[in-house]
Symmetry: C2
Subunit: 386 residues, 2 copies
């Protein structure tokens, strides 16, 4: 894995660069669509290739429960299972363990949780989640961390920072010891890409600057291939989040990719890019799409609204995506209201196209040192609606 | 509309031909996928073009209730609404009215029914369903008929034959009086095809040969563009159905397309083709697909079965469809079991591809006078499984 910063904005910390993994080059800042259960919901891998920069996120926790790691391992890994010959980043499952489960028990060894599907108990250790992700053949592996709730006390957060650092060390040791070269498959491109595996570190520290600083120092002293900021997409107050984000990002090494987990909306992405963030993932464009929400060049549109019943114009008047070129607001409204699968597909296709284009325009504007001007335009479109 | 019989089998009444509507040519025998709510479930119109011969069926009853005829009329008709520039056949809604509604009241004027969505009362007359289909811009319009349950008495069936004939006459009068040329749209191909509108007749008569004969005589004395056999896909005993089908089909004029409504399975299609049927529609391949059933060259496969959990071979080892070329049984099983939309799409794509290929092979075998040999192969594959 090679990360290069090509240009840093003259206006702020925003930067463009590229992540090279094997033969694949990912331009940054990049948005990664989420394929929770080895599928970006509604889309084929072929479609996701068109609608992304060739990198997706998939969820260790969900795959562990369904179909189970053994099935994916026997398939030759996740790339092979879902027929995806680009980059896969998998999360550690930590976020799901803590957010989808009322009852978790955490100690220094790891975390015990109940499956949200059948209620069975499972135990994740830092080593176990690394081993799982190695079996998946993930390209960018995330270590187990302990996120804290937004209202966590200083003492609680301090303990979790310490635990996260401790788990980070165990993770890289386990990764170094257990990472493997996999036997060749018939599909050459998949065969190759599966053998490119890297480990990122995750910074925690809640809403306390000094704890964030400690976490950055501890995590960044470990030889990870990139660094993620955790715990900043859990529904906290926006200004506070932005402040912590800016502070934390400024402490991260410049020569490694910076990844803001679980973000976000166009507004949040714009702010984070200005802080020097390079990677994003979020279910929002796809999930909101399935509920009928379009992100467009003129703001958000809820296609279920009665006023679109006989609106035969495209969802976004300035868009060249498959959906906008072929289908009308009235038709998609009918599909979504009738719970027709094509409706979910058409909104998903448009929203991912929109986010891909947004990131591309962000990169272009950074390159040309007019990121502020561009940001202003986007913020006006999306903030005026609120 | 032009219908030509190209060749009749030397072995039976099976025949190949073509239906020409505007610039579009449909080879027969043909299978029409069902797009109930202005969408063949899970697929875009672009995909349906690939997976069909360019003709689909859509349901008047369902479109009337959702999104409502007015919306589709304002869109410039159903072709424009769903971005489909090929042929659309719409049914009369009669079948749905009688099958989806416990309480219908029929008299000579028409039929009163309750919406299965909100329980409101509606009244369909032969004239009304023609007017609706004209507004939809349907290419092949079906008149309102009165299907009878499989166990209907002779007297009841006789009355329904008379009523169906009476309604047929009112339908063609209404069609002649009200059919319109529509104003041009931007999309030229859709603009043209929408103005090609034809009316078929429907033969009823339940399981009484003499009533079927009367119905054929009365319906075929009217100048319809083709003839459908109704009332033979409602779950009756197979041998009895086959007997009535063979008898009725043999009475129909040879120079008009013959359409067997609501059929069917590969076995039923094979038998009907041998009786000289030219057109079929059925939700079975798409609906069963969404439940995980694959039609394959080696028979039916229920992908939910545990034995496919680690089966990384394609659904059909002898298939060139998108699904079989890219995805494994194990992956699709995982998707279907996890209720992932991509799973429903992949089974639908394969099944429609399978039916399209089946019809193409049927036509080829008729052309080469080896339809019996081919049929035997198909029947062995699908009957051995039962």
């Amino acid at each position: 894995m090679k990360f290069s910063v090509i240009h840093t904005s003259s206006e702020c910390d925003a930067r463009i660069g590229s992540i090279n993994i094997g033969e694949i080059e990912i331009p940054t800042p990049v948005f990664m669509p989420v394929g929770t259960l080895a599928t970006v919901k509604t889309l084929s891998s072929e479609e996701v290739k068109e609608l992304s920069e060739g990198i997706i996120l998939s969820n260790t926790y969900h795959l562990y429960l369904r179909p189970g790691i053994e099935v994916i391992e026997e398939a030759g890994g996740l790339h092979s299972f879902m027929n995806w010959d680009r980059i896969i980043l998998t999360d550690s499952g930590g976020f799901q363990v803590f957010s989808l489960n009322g009852l978790t028990k955490t100690n220094d060894e790891g975390v015990r949780f109940r499956s949200h599907i059948d209620g069975y108990y499972h135990f994740f250790t830092p080593e176990k989640v690394i081993e799982i992700q190695i079996k998946l053949g993930s390209n960018i592996i995330m270590p187990l961390d302990e996120p804290v709730p937004p209202d966590a006390s200083y003492e609680y957060t301090e303990r979790s920072v310490k635990r996260t650092s401790n788990w980070a060390k165990r993770s890289i040791e386990c990764f170094r010891k257990n990472n493997i070269q996999r036997k060749p498959l018939v599909k050459e491109k998949i065969s190759k890409i599966r053998n490119e595996n890297y480990l990122f570190g995750i910074v925690q520290g809640g809403f306390f600057k000094d704890l964030r600083k400690i976490s950055v120092e501890e995590i960044c002293s470990i030889e990870f291939s990139g660094f993620a900021i955790g715990g900043l997409s859990v529904g906290e107050e926006k200004l506070k989040t932005y402040e912590i984000l800016k502070f934390t990002s400024s402490l991260l090494p410049k020569d490694k990719p910076r990844y803001l987990m679980g973000v976000g909306t166009p507004e949040d992405i714009i702010f984070a890019v200005s802080c020097g963030i390079d990677m994003f993932d979020c279910v929002f464009p796809t999930r909101a799409g399935r509920r009928g929400l379009f992100f467009t060049s003129i703001g958000k549109i809820n296609i279920r609204n009665k006023k679109y019943e006989k609106d035969f114009s495209p969802p976004d008047p300035n868009c060249e995506c498959f959906t906008c070129k072929n289908y009308s607001r009235a038709y998609i409204r009918h599909l979504i209201k009738s719970e027709e699968i094509l409706g979910y597909r058409l909104t998903t296709i448009h929203n991912l196209y929109f986010f891909k284009k947004l990131m591309s325009e962000i990169r272009e504007s950074i390159k040309e040192n007019r990121f502020y001007e561009f940001s202003k335009k986007i913020l006006e479109v999306f903030n005026l609606q609120k």
